[in-house]
């Protein structure tokens, strides 16, 4: 069969010559290879201190955005939950009461917004489906845990903070998606 690359070698069962049967030259060649690697530059990335650079389109942990006045963008329309191929998102909607205008941008909001991170496949379809600019995938790597119930991320874990310092920057994500879509 024609090989796809030119790297394949034809294997033969030919009888080994006397020097080959001594194995010593082969062993020395092997020792040379390992000692060469001994002095080579190491490829290890020491994870907590150093991190590998992510691609521009990296999809990590979710965030629920607020608008400029600190009101939650999400209106609990449920499009993200419908779009989700892994069925990881569950939403309980509620009507906004009087006096809550500073908390929620529109008349309806998500009382509960759970993402099961064990189901989530980080495809980013929820983000694409969202008409209200509410959900985004950040570049943060979602953490590991010891218990299964810790992987259901509730709303208080997902919504970004009101203060400027607590806001999560997703501007690269916005441009990234647009370029990626085109």
């Amino acid at each position: 069969m024609q090989s796809l690359t030119n790297r394949s070698k034809v294997v033969s069962n030919k009888k080994m010559t006397w020097t080959e049967r001594m194995y010593i030259p082969a062993i020395l060649a092997g020792l040379r290879v390992t000692i060469y690697h001994f002095f080579k530059k190491k490829v290890t990335i020491q994870y907590p201190e150093q991190t590998r650079e992510h691609s521009q389109y990296f999809r990590g942990r979710h965030v629920l955005k607020r608008d400029e006045e600190g009101r939650e963008n999400c209106t609990a329309c449920g499009l993200c939950a419908v779009a989700c191929p892994a069925e990881a998102i569950t939403i309980v909607a509620e009507e906004r009461k009087k006096g809550e205008e500073n908390l929620y941008r529109e008349e309806k909001y998500a009382a509960e917004y759970n993402i099961n991170m064990l189901r989530c496949i980080f495809c980013g379809l929820c983000e694409e489906a969202c008409p209200k600019d509410a959900i985004y995938l950040t570049t943060t790597i979602s953490t590991s845990d010891y218990h299964r119930d810790q992987f259901i991320y509730t709303k208080d874990m997902l919504v970004e903070g009101i203060q400027d310092v607590d806001r999560i920057d997703i501007s690269s994500r916005r441009t990234g998606v647009r370029e990626g879509a085109m």
Partner: protein, 344 residues
């Protein structure tokens, strides 16, 4: 009296040295493995990970001690104990440096200069397999038993070739005492090493040393891929630690014996000029340092080979031992004898 105190001190120092070197061998084994695989290896415990052996030791001691219900309790405990004792016993006859004078008396840097030192080493080495045998047998486990049987078969097969290559060395040096053997190699300004006289013998001895210490490519007794853990499958906690420790101490002492027999022990190039110009004690310390450096190189070599060569199959191991090494070592002995006879 002074002599006895000095010897006791020497024994203590040797004991601590063996333990320390074995502990740091476990660490450097992991480091060497990592470096040869383009990794960094353990580096979190202390600076450069140097406290790793300590952490490993504490872990070993704190682990739960499990004894198989159907095992023979006495033999189960005896196994690792014998391994450890025989491993530590070997260091008694190794000459660590030249003689020094303490209080007007000439003292050897050697615990016991018995006149059959090399035979003593061979004897203790073959005792070492009892620890493995008994441990594997007492575990009442098929993997452990298979490992133990492999260990003893291997030991018997390779001890013959090893003995024959040693006979050739004894013929050239004319002595059974390790002290005399090392002293005899100080010709040519400290470069009269036996390796130049016995290259073939050295190769055979080296291969046999790998087999005797159960190191790759001869690590069949504990081959993880086939026998789970081999003879120490059922062992846990510090008993397992003793087995692993014994292996590393054996490696250290095999390196020492190889150095003594073939690489001139504490002899180094131009040592006679250094001796003439330095104080006696300082010179002895330099010699000990040189000896240790050679040993450390051989320990590194053991590890280097481990991460290069894959394991033998059992029939290949037997073929190599009986059909290649044994005839070769006999031929080597005959050639040595003929050359000695011709030169007389």
């Amino acid at each position: 009296m002074e002599l006895i105190i000095f010897k006791i001190c020497l024994v203590l120092v040797l004991f601590l040295l063996s333990i320390t070197i074995a502990a740091y061998s476990t660490f450097s084994e992991r480091k060497v493995a990592a470096f040869m695989q383009d990794r960094i290896g353990p580096n979190r415990a202390g600076p450069f990970g140097l406290l790793q052996p300590l952490a490993d030791g504490i872990k070993m001691i704190m682990k739960e001690e499990i004894m198989p219900a159907d095992s023979n309790k006495l033999l189960f405990i005896l196994g690792p104990a014998i391994s450890m004792i025989t491993a530590l016993m070997t260091s008694a006859v190794i000459p660590w440096g030249p003689d020094i004078t303490i209080g007007g008396e000439k003292v050897q840097l050697q615990v016991a200069d018995i006149n059959v030192g090399i035979l003593y080493i061979m004897g203790v080495l073959s005792l070492g397999v009892y620890g493995i045998m008994i441990g594997g047998w007492a575990s009442n486990n098929k993997f452990a038993l298979l490992g133990a049987v492999r260990a003893s078969t291997q030991m018997i097969s390779y001890e013959l070739a090893m003995g024959m290559s040693i006979v050739a060395i004894i013929m050239t040096t004319g002595s059974l005492s390790l002290g005399n053997m090392v002293e005899g190699q100080n010709g040519w300004h400290g470069m009269g090493w036996n390796i130049f006289l016995q290259p073939l013998g050295f190769l055979i001895f080296l291969i046999c040393a790998f087999a005797e210490t159960n190191r790759t490519p001869f690590d069949l007794p504990e081959s993880e891929t086939e026998l789970v853990g081999g003879y120490h499958t059922e062992y846990s906690s510090m008993k397992l630690g003793f087995y692993l420790f014994a292996e590393y101490i054996n490696m250290f002492l095999s390196s020492a014996v190889i150095t003594c027999l073939y690489f001139g022990g504490y002899n180094f190039p131009f040592m006679d000029m250094v001796q003439a110009n330095t104080h006696e004690v300082l010179f002895a310390l330099i010699c000990v340092g040189v000896f240790l450096a050679k040993i450390i190189f051989f320990i590194f070599f053991f590890m280097w080979v481990r991460w290069t060569i894959p394991r033998f199959r059992f029939d290949q191991l037997m073929n190599l031992g009986w059909k290649v090494l044994l005839p070769l070592s006999i031929v080597n002995m005959l050639i040595t004898g003929a050359v000695i006879l011709y030169n007389q």
